[in-house]
């Protein structure tokens, strides 16, 4: 853990500028999951001796992010890069191994119980799988009433029901659905209900973890439109986790690209897609199947994503990077602010090799 404390927080200077409007601040965030929980599971027999080894999955390794009020910050990356872990840490569903999370200037990662309650109302989450996120034994009416009754214990039943009717109308749910159960609906309809549940308590900040990945193309458009309408009407701020770059390009104000638990590039959407700087971002963008060209030239990455149990030294991407040099193998690159204000963590970019 000493190594964690010694890590500098690279983006601090650039974040000071934005501090005034930023709604959510993440500083030097680390999350490690132990591979073996119990003492006995940690014991191994090696070369005739009993040794205790406590290996960990390094899911998040020093992430600094800030989400500005009113924006949609998209976090993209491939499976295992830690994007969902960031979402869960922000919502307090997991507690960080190190680092700070502040919401509206108030540190929330060390809060518990009643003190956290007001924040739980201001921040809501939409999950990936609408088949798992609705309680199968509750009617839709009950599902939508539950968060209201929890956060407003003083409300009368008619008050709660009025509010549910309001939110149903605003996301285009037929009031008739209230009597039915989750399993009676299709994926797109369920996701609509999940969004209604999140909006019921009038949050200002929504964490959406791959909300459309499980849906069909024509339904994806419906749900994305709903999320954008809600943002315009309610002045919502989004932290949007996804692996779909086409959606990011359409939806995101800014994009953070993650690889093996670190942010490798943070930029506003338009300039990221126009001029990706980090070699990983370049490879990721070139891999999107496009409609227009039938002979694409995508950047071929050698090898595969290393395991987050034994992180590579230096830049986590160096093993697959076509521009890797000795320095990349030794030294961890920090996020530096480029001339256009975007941030990128890459030695090659810093040295002007790229």
């Amino acid at each position: 853990m000493n190594a964690v404390a010694a890590q500098p927080s690279p983006a601090t200077t650039s974040q000071n500028r934005a501090e005034a409007e930023s709604l959510l601040e993440i500083r030097g965030l680390y999350k490690h999951f132990p591979l073996a929980d119990g003492f006995l599971e940690q014991l191994h027999f090696e070369k005739g001796r009993l040794v205790r080894r406590n290996e960990q999955v390094h899911a998040i390794n020093g992430v600094d992010l800030s989400v500005q009020r009113g924006e949609a910050l998209c976090v993209v990356g491939e499976s295992g890069c830690g994007k969902s872990t960031v979402a869960r840490l922000v919502m307090g569903l997991l507690s960080p191994s190190a680092g700070e999370i502040s919401y509206a200037g108030q540190r929330i990662d060390n809060m518990r119980g009643k003190r956290l309650l007001p924040y739980r109302q201001r921040m809501q989450m939409i999950f990936q799988n609408p088949y798992a996120s609705l309680n199968p034994r509750m009617t839709i009416q009950q599902t939508l009433e539950e968060p209201l009754r929890f956060h407003h214990p003083d409300w009368t039943t008619p008050q709660v029901q009025d509010k549910v009717a309001d939110v149903m109308a605003s996301v285009g749910i037929d009031p008739e659905w209230g009597k039915r159960f989750g399993h009676e609906f299709s994926g797109g309809q369920r996701q609509r209900i999940a969004i209604a549940r999140a909006l019921a308590v009038d949050p200002e900040f929504i964490v959406a973890d791959e909300p459309i990945s499980a849906l069909d193309v024509s339904i994806q458009a419906q749900v994305l439109n709903l999320l954008m309408d809600a943002q315009a009407e309610r002045h919502l701020t989004y932290l949007f986790i996804t692996h779909d770059l086409a959606v990011v390009e359409h939806f995101g104000t800014r994009v953070a690209v993650m690889y093996l638990g670190t942010v490798c590039e943070l930029a506003d959407t338009r300039s990221l897609f126009a001029r990706p700087k980090h070699p990983y971002t370049q490879a990721l963008l070139s891999a999107i199947p496009r409609l227009d060209d039938d002979r694409p030239e995508h950047v071929r990455l050698s090898g595969e994503v290393p395991t987050p149990v034994h992180l590579p030294s230096g830049c986590v991407f160096h093993g697959r990077c076509p521009h890797a040099m000795e320095r990349c193998r030794q030294e961890v690159p920090q996020l530096i602010v480029a001339d256009d204000g975007n941030q990128v963590a890459c030695h090659a970019v810093e040295e002007g090799r790229l």
């Binding site: 994806q220 390009e249 359409h250 939806f251 199947p289 496009r290 409609l291 039938d294 694409p296 595969e304």
Partner: protein, 333 residues
């Protein structure tokens, strides 16, 4: 004659609640070395179509009509013994989930040798040599070690490459790939797709690619088949379908992609959702979601509601739509 000729295929599932018609009147052909894409959303019947090509439909499903002619022989009416000679040998299949496809208790080498020996009279040593050669073809690093490894020791991308190697093992004429990269990340997907296309081109293997991703179809195939509620609604050259789709559903599907609108604006959504196959609407199955279902005076069109549209030819595409038929008729007169 085409290598594979599917005509008027009709597949049904006899369920307790009644019969569900999964495929209706599906016809298409595949030439030697041709790459065909079958696109559609979940519930369109595209996976049933893939399974039917190898006559892999199991009870309660059955082929109620139509034929699947492979080199002139009808796979729908072939004996189980003859079918085994075709499956895996002449037509092989790649499934969606690489973890479910590989046998977890056999090493990669054992699985490959097993399928080789099932179809050819060769020694284990010869079979291993062929397996090794195929692993090299799909660029598996250190293939000799991989032969003795088990599926769980390999990553998702590596497993899918091994499955491609197994699909190519007996030098088939056709590979049927059912969403081969859906479970994989984008960078791995791009790699696997490029590999699959290169191998098909090099060995002149035909490919039937089932996918929901129009971008993948655009990059992989020469011809495309669009399915909706168990029927083919449009088919033709891929470029023509992508650039100038005729059927309102295909148009809607393409227009719904985020790439098709300026960032930040509302997406062009198709209202409603795909009907369940047990309860398909009358007439054109797409009519409840179609913006062209009204006539000039604002009344619902009777033909869309009642008649199943026939295929009409527009350019090089076949389209099943009353509106397109009327437009073509108007142009002709």
């Amino acid at each position: 004659m085409a290598l594979l000729e599917v005509s008027n295929l009709d597949v049904r599932f006899a369920l307790r609640q009644g019969e569900v018609r999964a495929l209706r009147d599906v016809s298409f052909t595949l030439d030697r070395g041709e790459r065909l894409g079958i696109v559609g959303e979940s519930g369109a019947g595209k996976s049933v179509a893939a399974f039917t090509l190898l006559n892999l439909i199991a009870k309660p499903g059955y082929i109620a009509g139509g034929s699947i002619r492979f080199e002139g022989n009808d796979l729908a009416r072939m004996s189980a013994r003859d079918l085994r000679r075709v499956r895996g040998n002449r037509i092989s299949m790649i499934f969606q989930d690489p973890m479910m496809t590989l046998n977890p208790v056999l090493s990669i080498g054992e699985q490959m040798v097993e399928s080789l020996k099932a179809h050819r009279r060769i020694s284990t040593r010869e079979a291993r040599a062929i397996a090794l050669h195929k692993l090299k073809q799909v660029y598996i690093p250190s293939p000799e070690t991989r032969l003795d490894q088990y599926p769980h020791e390999l990553s998702g991308g590596m497993r899918q490459r091994i499955i491609i190697a197994i699909a190519l093992l007996l030098d088939p004429d056709i590979i049927v790939a059912d969403e081969p990269t859906t479970a994989l990340d984008v960078t791995i997907q791009a790699e696997i797709m490029t590999l699959l296309r290169e191998l098909c081109e090099k060995h002149n293997v035909g490919l039937v690619l089932i996918t929901h991703d129009l971008g993948v179809v655009s990059q992989m195939t020469q011809r495309t088949l669009v399915m909706y509620a168990g029927r083919v609604i449009e088919q033709g050259p891929t470029r023509e379908i992508i650039n100038d789709a005729q059927h309102p559903y295909t148009q809607g599907l393409l227009n719904a992609l985020p790439q098709m609108t300026t960032p930040g604006s509302r997406l062009n959504q198709i209202p409603g959702s795909m009907p369940a196959l047990s309860n398909t609407p009358s007439g054109c199955a797409f009519h409840p979601r179609c913006q062209y279902r009204y006539d000039a005076s604002g009344q619902p069109r009777r033909d869309c509601l009642e008649e199943v549209p026939e295929f009409v030819t527009s350019g090089n595409c076949d389209v099943a739509c009353h509106m397109v038929r009327d437009m073509l008729a108007k142009e002709a007169s």
